[in-house]
Symmetry: C2
Subunit: 203 residues, 2 copies
């Protein structure tokens, strides 16, 4: 009896199968777009029988939600690390090359673009993206307000929220730039992003 | 004889029909994504019989190319106007509110997001986007090099290309921000974008 229960609820195994589905979905979305990738195709790519996928995800929306949850986890890790720095604003400016490199990597933005395009027509996906963003923004705001106030810089919500939005637009936009201008010299772009970031955070 | 020839080649009428197809395609892409919108569905949306659409566009790729051509036309208009200004760099900083407003409008970025997502998996679309971008970048570079040199600012290609790329990433990224943070105060965002733009263009 115990063995049977274990077989059905083993969390490692379930997580492994969920990861398999997410890997397969990433491949199918990249190949055919969100609407071209059916649950049957994703099952097949994951090496599962057609109905099996529904044990892990109720729908394609649920798969997209899982990708958004992964994004949230990743952002939270970064924000946790940022919060441990003695000077978060200088740290961000110093780390700009790593931030740029990450946003230029197709593996990072391929799925994000698909999710953004879907959010533009799917309120459930848009709401999940926005909830994730609100959390990240509030954590980032608290860090930036404290660091700017310590420097005697304007730290009211209008100033800080506008700058957070512009900074994140710059980073999000790097992925769209790469599609249009893949030949840009990475070092030149890093230098320019650092100039924009210093102006936004440290003035 | 003349009438018959005219009926088949009247450029206004053909252009009108092409515009009808593009309007219909924008609606279908927004509803179902590029891969979910078939040529048959686009025909129906445009009020045409199923095969009729092929008189105007050979494929969905050809429709996307027409959208990219419209984008190029729009960018060329803006660059033409910028070139007429006595001080193009100050003009861009002064006009930042109009640039931000345009990039925040869903009508502007809805189709762009669809095209970007498709470019990530379709080399023909990516190549067309990149060719359009190269033209715009070269025109923008010539303007910025001249204006920066007049001010005694660094105007070498490394400096200028990095800054053009960062500036355009910021603008392109505004559309992605709007999907995630639609509540941002527009005036705060305009102020922040102006700060970043002044740092990129005028320092």
């Amino acid at each position: 009896m115990r063995t049977i229960v274990k077989r059905h609820t083993d969390p490692d195994r379930a997580q492994h199968r969920r990861d398999q589905v997410l890997d397969a979905a990433a491949i199918c979305f990249a190949r055919s777009g969100f609407h071209g990738a059916s649950m049957a195709k994703i099952s097949r790519q994951a090496g599962m029988s057609a109905g099996h996928i529904y044990n892990y995800f109720a729908s394609k929306d649920a798969i997209v939600m899982a990708f958004i949850a992964l994004r949230v986890e990743h952002i939270n890790d970064r924000l946790g690390n940022l919060g441990k720095q003695a000077d978060p604003l200088e740290y961000m400016c110093a780390e700009i090359d790593a931030i740029v490199d990450k946003h230029l990597a197709p593996a990072f933005w391929g799925m994000a673009l698909e999710i953004f395009a879907e959010a533009a027509r799917n309120d459930t996906v848009a709401a999940a993206l926005q909830a994730a963003d609100t959390d990240a923004r509030e954590r980032l705001r608290a860090l930036i307000v404290r660091s700017r106030a310590q420097r005697g810089l304007a730290a009211d919500q209008h100033t800080v929220d506008g700058r957070i939005c512009a900074m994140r637009a710059l980073f999000d936009g790097l992925s769209l730039r790469m599609l249009q201008d893949p030949g840009v010299a990475r070092d030149d772009l890093v230098d320019a992003c650092r100039i924009a970031l210093r102006a936004l955070l440290l003035t």
